[in-house]
Symmetry: C2
Subunit: 146 residues, 2 copies
Amino acid sequence: MPKTTFNATAHLQKGVQVKAQSRNFEITVDEPKSLGGTDTGMNPVELVLCALGACQSIVAGAFAGKFGITFSDFRVELEGDLDTDGFLGKSDVRKGYSEIRYNIHIKTDEPKEKVEEFIEFIENTCPVGDTIANTVTTKLNKIIIE
Amino acid sequence: MPKTTFNATAHLQKGVQVKAQSRNFEITVDEPKSLGGTDTGMNPVELVLCALGACQSIVAGAFAGKFGITFSDFRVELEGDLDTDGFLGKSDVRKGYSEIRYNIHIKTDEPKEKVEEFIEFIENTCPVGDTIANTVTTKLNKIIIE
């Protein structure tokens, strides 16, 4: 399936709680109380970090065999800087992340050089990494007033 | 809290299943069988669409009062084009999304022009939208071999 179209829907509930669905899966997205929510789920920018770390982990799991590397554990810790003054209209800073950093933990007996090559391969292959690091055309198709 | 650092971790399980956490919340990320997974959760690129739609919905919920608009329902349908040949190393196309489109459904009696202004405000304010549409510095901090 080369050119694929992925789908999702997001439906606002009470306050700023959202039910987001893709195929038969649903997640609850919310904000912590400090950002005006009821704290019933991660917020969208935390979800972006999860998507990136999950994507890197999936590339690791999917390509380990082809790469000829074995490991018994793989874990990514991520952090992203975001100035909420942008979102709140208090400043002209960008609204989204300015920088996202990650540490990769891997339990393996492979030589350091091979591990580094593998991590570099993961970074260059990860679809979510490319989506975040580079520009993507995002556009409103239509507004449906009901 | 202007300059904020958000955090998450992703931990590879069996195959390509991942448990991703942020604060006290956890989600399961996986791939459908057609992409080599066991289909126990959304995949990372679906999660990105959910994050974008949830973020737009949260901006709608959070700023409706300030904007002086009332609505009884708000829903976003999203779709994104991604050529999986990039990820699979079969082609030089980019690995991530090339384009993401969305339809916004809003149940309201407000005039069309006001609704359009509100949607434009949402698009310009959404942190995840900015993160995806524009470039973000993403970088490996360190590799920890255990």
